[in-house]
Amino acid sequence: MLGFALGLIATLLHAALVFAAAPLVAGVVGKIRAWALGRRGAPVWQPYLQLYKLLRKSTLVPETATELFALWPVACFLATAVAMLLVPSFCTGMLTAPLGDFITLIGLFAIARAATMLGGMETGFGFGGAGAGREVLFSIFAEAALLVALLCFVLLAHGATVDGIAVAFDTQHIGISVSLGFALAALLAVALTETGRIPTDNPSGHLELAMVHEAMLLEYSGRFLLLFEYAAMLRLLLWMDLIGAIFIPFRLGQAGDVFSWPGGLLLWVLKIGAMAVVLPLFEVSTAKMRVFRVPEFLGAAMLLGFLASVFLFVAARIGS
């Protein structure tokens, strides 16, 4: 009973934290990016103001949109938000942990992606369709690379839930292996693509021809745009959580042990903070790719994921 209550509190705390912190993370990333480019940058709380502004603005619907225009932002937000609840942040063993199978997570990402693409096609204007076509191309390789990288984690952790993988990597002596390094590289490439960052896409780009994710949202405004933007912020934090839980799981808290929470919380803030610093530094040091270079980039990620598993097989062969 106590365990359940603590699990519930931990889950609610997790939900409150991630939903509140997602815009802040986006703000920090934007601020550091501006600094790295030699600008002053907007304050870190700018995304909150942005979301509030969208909440208070009236929502315009294009004449050529169908009745389903409002469905896509809601579906995109809900899928991302449900996925957000399944990935551990500061502690493992939340009530939602058994639901958090990695493949379910991939499916939820797919819903969010499908909803965004359909939103882009909704009004039948050129940029939305172009963006959707590119998104399909990227997702094909990203999904394959993600599945192959997942194989490596499942082989090491003997479980497929994100929670189980985090616990296994925290408690077992996995050690630093070449396999995990390759898997990390593969996962980072997929994460950059899924969250629409440089080098595959530019979230702050203003040229419609070069847009991918933003191109599909061009006709949205007000509340609907708010949902898409908030979902994008959540997705960024979600991938940071995911990479943090898998690759830096040390001293994660336990939902059943209240005294482990503060340590887990502190570490979570440090992890996310470090990633929020590294991401913009990486972004300003590279250039955006041509659209048809991205499959090569993700194909390389897939091969790295493949190599990660091959090294594991060879290691198992030598070990036995």
Partner: protein, 539 residues
């Protein structure tokens, strides 16, 4: 004639029944050939001996050929050739003792009928040809009957001689089907052809599941056996519900707009909200999205492949890792195909006047599609329960299989989503500005269209071909043949056709030989014969 149904037969009959009812309600009930088609399928499923099975199977083939012929003559010849090939493989196979030869013949015979690569090239041509009700039953039912024969022979009748490589062959064929089917579904423009290509993909997924189970059964791995079979059977059930739904919907689109080319549709949700909703449900299942009927089988299948990659020799592990990558590609392509189908056909601006003026479905077709949609819901939301009711079948096919509970819980996900939706609704109601205002779209700053083009110039809207262009450019040219044709068509069917033409020309040449050539041939043959005789005597 001897009927002896068991749990497996009942499962497949249960799958068949809703489709037959839906197709009949949707407008096929007046056709005698349609009922003979259904009777053939039922006979093949209920058969207690090899003769009845073959009789029912061939009755089904013949009736479906007539139905295809009535729709479109061009693919009918190709179709009947494949049906004859299938029969020529199956008839000897069912009378052979349990052996690898029998399995290979069964696999060729049923694979040709189910559309398993490399024998699938006829399916995207033949399935769209007849009226929608027949297309629905061919994709949802006939393909399943072929898989039923494969399952019955591979898992029950030929089980004593089972070898692990049987499963590997099945997995390899399935993976090729998944990749080619999903890629072509992404690139094709005709709505019904897209659906038929997606059928090839789903047959591939089922074959991969069956292959994993077959290999695990021969190797004595109970967990994998259970997972693979669960994935395959659940995929069969789900596909038999959503694919007929989509095909019937395509028929209604054809009825209302006069074409099923995605490049001429667009904006159909506006005039056909009911059809749009039903097609959205079908497309979500086809794309294997969570909370749809297609996700649970995909989930089980990926877990089965991951499990298979975790054990065994290094070559097998590499094979399954590659299989995982191909399934990932296939899943994302299927999502793209479903999004493209719905986005191009039902969203956006109409591309023709007929599409702008389409009337919604009502009456019998609505009832038929509604029936299938209602049946999809339990499969989508309670896959664990559906798997539970299939336990007798699983135990019949694999008595030792371990059947772990399903780790994917759509109801819990739905509850989470509902809670979040409630919170979202509260926030938007409490602090948000309500209501929406309809305005001209921004459209990159272009001006409003002239009054005589109420939906703007259709040519300025991205087409289905254009949407698929990046994929066609990046991988279509690597996997498919020239002009995005099917690879087996270019590299298997075309050479065979060329060989056949050459043989015909040779036969014609012999038939037209002059009397001198004939006499010379007889004389030459005599000399050769005598020489051979003389050399033989001498030696």
């Amino acid at each position: 004639m001897h009927l002896q149904p068991d749990a497996l037969s009942w499962l497949f009959l249960g799958i068949l029944l809703p489709q037959v009812v839906a197709s009949a309600v949707a407008g096929m009930r007046g056709s005698v050939t349609f009922w003979v088609f259904g009777l053939g399928m039922a006979l093949a499923l209920l058969a207690g001996d090899a003769f009845t099975l073959i009789f029912g199977f061939e009755l089904m083939s013949a009736a479906s050929w007539l139905l295809v012929l009535r729709g479109d003559e061009r693919p009918a010849t190709f179709y009947v050739t494949m049906a004859i090939f299938s029969g020529a493989c199956l008839i000897p196979a069912v009378f052979l003792p349990a052996s690898s030869v029998a399995f290979v013949l069964i696999l060729l015979g049923t694979g040709a009928k189910a559309g398993l690569a490399p024998l699938h090239a006829w399916l995207p041509k033949a399935h769209p040809a007849p009226p929608a009700g027949v297309s629905a039953l061919m994709s949802g039912g006939m393909v399943k009957v072929a898989l039923y024969v494969l399952i019955r022979y591979a898992f029950i009748i030929l089980a004593p001689a089972a070898q692990p490589w049987w499963g590997v062959v099945l997995i390899a064929a399935g993976l090729a089907s998944v990749l080619i089917g999903a890629l072509r579904a992404m690139l094709e423009v005709e709505l019904k052809t897209v659906l038929a290509c997606s059928t090839v993909e789903h047959v591939g997924l089922i074959a991969v599941g069956l292959g994993v189970a077959l290999r695990a059964k021969a190797m004595g791995d109970e967990t994998l056996e259970g997972l693979g079979l669960q994935a395959a059977l659940l995929c069969i059930v789900a596909h038999a519900l959503f694919k007929p739904l989509l095909f019937l919907g395509a028929g209604e689109v054809k009825h209302a707009v006069g074409t099923t080319s995605l490049n001429w549709l667009g904006g159909l949700v506006r005039g056909m909200p009911r059809l749009g909703g039903l097609m959205l449900l079908g497309a979500a299942c086809m794309a294997a999205l969570p909370l749809g009927a297609g996700f649970a089988p995909e989930f089980l299948l990926l877990h089965a492949i991951i499990g298979a990659a975790a054990t065994g020799g290094i070559l097998a592990r590499l094979f399954f890792t590659a299989a995982l990558a191909i399934l990932g590609l296939g899943a994302a392509l299927a999502l793209g195909a479903a999004v493209r189908l719905f986005g191009m056909g039902f969203l956006g601006r109409p591309r023709s006047l007929q599409a702008a003026a389409a009337d919604d479905i009502r009456g019998a077709p609505l009832m038929a599609m509604g029936l299938l949609a209602v049946l999809i819901l339990p499969v989508a939301l309670l896959p664990g329960l559906v798997l539970g009711t299939m336990t007798p079948v699983l135990l019949l096919l694999a008595p030792q299989a371990a059947l772990p509970p399903l780790a994917y819980a759509p109801l819990s996900l739905a509850v989470l989503a509902l809670l979040l939706a409630a919170a979202l609704g509260f926030v938007l109601q409490r602090w948000g500005v309500r209501g929406t205002r309809e305005v001209a779209g921004w459209n990159g700053g272009f001006g409003a269209p002239p009054p005589w083009l109420p939906f703007g110039d259709p040519a300025t809207q991205p087409s289905a071909t254009g949407l698929a262009e990046p994929v066609a450019r990046a991988i279509g040219r690597g996997v498919l043949a020239r002009d995005m044709a099917d690879p087996t068509e270019a590299w298997l069917v075309a050479p065979l056709l060329q060989l056949y033409r050459r043989l015909v020309r040779l036969a014609e040449r012999i038939r037209r030989a002059t009397i001198r050539e004939r006499l010379a041939f007889v004389f030459g043959a005599l000399v050769v014969f005598l020489l051979a005789l003389g050399l033989g005597e001498g030696g």
